[in-house]
């Protein structure tokens, strides 16, 4: 498999955005509502959870670079958190920089990451 380059948006910048709640937004349908449906939470709890998942991301969770429909570069991650697999897509835009958590939901396919394969069948992290 071709080795992809690292994240387009450094995690240090992602965390800097997370430190200021005014600089973070979460997509309703592809993140907050999918978290809400999984846990039965309200929007506030789901938005907070999405931010926590992103805050916990490390370089070893990186999957690949991608583009939004409008051409904005974004990064995709896969991570296992408390035994549950999550797919995450995010990007930083604007000045001052703002983080947009595009996706945060259960993965629909296995996600290969440096840490291992994040399984869509919720079997945790599988070492390659």
């Amino acid at each position: 498999m071709k080795q992809s380059a690292g994240p387009q948006h450094p995690l240090a910048e992602v965390r800097a955005c997370l430190a200021d709640s005014r600089r973070v937004t979460v997509a309703r349908s592809t993140a907050a509502e999918m978290i809400a449906a999984h846990f039965g939470w309200d929007y506030g709890g789901s938005v907070a959870f999405a931010k926590e998942v992103v805050r916990g991301l490390a370089e070893e969770n990186f999957f690949r670079r991608t583009l939004m429909r409008d051409g904005t570069p974004a990064d995709e991650y896969g991570v296992v958190r408390e035994g549950i697999s999550w797919y995450v897509k995010l990007f930083i835009t604007g000045s001052p920089a703002r983080l947009l958590i595009v996706s945060c939901h259960l993965p629909q396919w296995d996600i290969p990451t440096p840490a291992g394969i994040v399984t869509c069948t919720q079997r945790g992290l599988r070492k390659p």
């Binding site: 005014r22 973070v24 997509a27 929007y43 506030g44 703002r98 595009v102």
Partner: protein, 155 residues
């Protein structure tokens, strides 16, 4: 409270504009319900083409404040309907239904009066039970001491 400038191109569909829009009158997924109506004014940055919205701490709390009362009311109404159907189909008392479902005495009464909002598992189980009440009763008799209810239902 504006977090996104009016006129930002939509990142999601690449066609629309994301700007604060009043979601009153729309229907949203909320918690574990597919469709809860937005019954009051709440302004959220939303794309005018794909409908995707961007939530921050303030807008998510504003949405919750509007949706939670409607969610509780609709959940209570739907559960009351489901419980009524089960009681009617099985021709049993509220106390019998509590035994059948392993609930505390008086709990069904509180649900029927809207004094409690049922957990999702109970709500969905009663809905499943209503798909075939007699089959459900016989199946539950395998694991619950409800032989008297079974005898009454088959008499």
């Amino acid at each position: 409270m504006k977090k996104v400038d009016p006129g930002v191109s939509c990142y999601f569909c690449g066609e629309g504009i994301i700007a604060p829009r009043n979601l009153r009158g729309s229907v949203l997924q909320y918690r574990d319900e597919r469709e809860i109506p937005v019954e009051a004014d709440v302004f959220v940055p939303t794309c005018d083409v794909c409908g995707e919205s961007l939530l921050d701490d303030d807008t998510s709390k504003a949405l919750d404040a509007v949706l939670e009362p409607a969610y509780r009311r609709l959940r209570a109404e739907r559960l009351q309907q489901e419980l009524g159907l089960a009681l009617s189909a099985l021709k049993i008392t509220q106390g019998d239904l509590e035994r059948l479902l392993g609930l505390s005495p008086g709990y069904v009464s509180k649900l029927l009066k809207g004094k409690r909002v049922a957990e999702t598992a109970l709500y969905r189980f009663v809905h499943l039970l209503n798909a075939n009440p007699q089959f459900g009763l016989r199946a539950l008799a395998d694991v619950a001491p409800i032989d008297d209810l079974l005898a009454g239902a088959t008499a």
